[in-house]
Symmetry: C2
Subunit: 313 residues, 2 copies
């Protein structure tokens, strides 16, 4: 099974509903709900669901339950960041392995709460069960949109393509400890019109093509500008791959990938964000994606990137 | 681990947030969200998450993927019915066993969609992963409340205690094929003030005490009035338990348990609902729960009822 195939099928087969302006295919769905006795047009709720599974997304032989809970929630909150959404509530479902104690449940939920609590986004509901299989955590998030939510599909020809932070090598530890870029997304969106955005969960090699496809555009990315994390260099020293390959394909960066008018860059730099903010390329009308090397030569875009289905059987 | 212990701990440790009027402890949580550029007081979104696990809630050796998906969604929608909530969107996360094909994913989602589609409540988002463990389905629902949502805590002394449909013996098949009582809950709530309500997922023996405890009241239930399903009689003929015991303890009925003023009963009967509607007892001020036999003698309430944690290790 390939997740992309199934999601494409779902998106193609979804019936349209007037109260669902944003269905399957973006980082979150958007659904309009009415209050009771409310004659207004309703309010847009943004929704996301995400799983974290033992030995797929974390490994209880190495990681604590608290780390697992923290990561499970932060993965979901990273999708909230991707839409410049303000998360307001988290729901958690946990399938515990047999023999799990109430204390173990508490450890896991403390991890969840420490992630959610950092954003005033409480855990409002949960479901637990016990089975003779490994730990599975599912997190759903609901958020509101202070401004119009930012989608993947709004990239405009001539836009600067920007990445927050540094990418690659997250397996050395950052995949467990990252902070979702919620505050940064909202701060940027307040001073500039973000045209398109998503979070980097599968790696730039795989995620950038998704954003471009949704927007119906192409891009040229300058290889020398990609902000390579020191962890990618560390990995490269031992495994024979380049640090750039790690930066493009490792995934689980949970940084923001966005596009906006080049004129807006200065305004964002003036924010003085603690996280780096790097222009890596330009959106083009031609629906092709190129990696430009240091000599100015256009190289084909690397295939692949992180996909749980294929890389973690 | 006992789910009740963990949930009680979660409820006790939850911080209060102004935008969360209804946290852990009811069939759904209630969270107020704002629209963008919206100066209003916001809109109440109702939220629920629920799991369905292979060999706990269904068994793929006997049941199809479509049945599993249908049940997973209907379980969650039954909680929506319990609050007289109108479900508006469903999110689905699936951990597929290794070797699952895209077609199998489609079968599962078709089951989910047939459940959700019956209530104009589309599947708006999903997450899939593959692992070397059994199938796990998690469903989150978001709904709106046409009137004020009905909670477990509003039962009033003198209320009639009502059950929809018939209970017991659902393991013979109804646990897979039930229809969540969404339409009935809303129809009843439109003509009468439902004081307290929940859905019967763990069985009357276990669920009624929860409703009474949340309301701070007691009850007397007349054993002869409990609407016993023919399936409970069928089971009783072979296993030596009484049909009444099955009706009280089997669980997975997914019927409504509600309380309202006796004067409102006639108005509900006038609705002519297709589903049975049976008064089984009365809410009392004394915080005790009694089962009254056909001789008028008060018997102690049966302990137990269905709990996945203890009954399905």
């Amino acid at each position: 099974m390939r997740e992309n195939d199934l999601l494409a099928w779902l998106a193609a087969n979804a019936r349209r509903h007037a109260h669902v302006p944003m269905g399957i295919g973006d980082d979150m769905a958007g659904v309009v709900i009415q209050g009771h006795g409310d004659g207004s047009g309703g309010v847009l709720a943004l929704l996301k669901i995400d799983q974290a599974l033992d030995r797929v997304h974390f490994d209880l032989r190495e990681h604590t339950l608290r780390q697992a809970g923290l990561k499970a929630v932060n993965r979901c909150l990273s999708d909230c960041a991707a839409m410049a959404c303000r998360p307001r509530a988290i729901l958690i479902a946990v399938a515990f392995p047999q023999g799990a104690s109430t204390e173990m449940g508490q450890e896991l939920f403390l991890g969840c709460e420490s992630a959610a609590g950092a954003f005033e986004c409480p855990v409002v509901g949960g479901d637990t069960a016990v089975w003779d299989q490994r730990l599975a955590i599912t997190v759903a998030a609901m958020g509101e949109s202070p401004a119009a939510p930012v989608r993947r599909s709004g990239a405009v020809v001539g836009d600067a393509i920007v990445v927050t932070g540094r990418v690659g090598g997250s397996i050395l530890g950052r995949h467990l400890t990252f902070t979702p870029r919620i505050a940064e997304a909202q701060a940027i969106h307040q001073v500039a019109a973000i045209h398109a955005m998503m979070d980097l969960s599968d790696g730039l090699a795989q995620d950038l093509p998704r954003l471009l496809a949704a927007s119906g555009v192409g891009a040229v990315v300058e290889a020398s500008r990609i902000p390579i994390h020191p962890d990618a260099h560390t990995l490269a020293r031992t495994d024979g791959q380049t640090a750039l390959a790690h930066a493009l394909a490792d995934g689980e960066d949970y940084e923001l990938l966005l596009t906006l008018a080049p004129a807006d860059i200065a305004r964002i730099q003036a924010l003085g964000l603690a996280v780096e903010f790097t222009v890596i390329g330009t959106v083009t009308a031609q629906r092709e994606l190129w990696l430009q090397d240091e000599h100015g030569t256009l190289q084909s875009w690397p295939r692949g990137g992180w996909e749980y289905e294929s890389d973690h059987p």
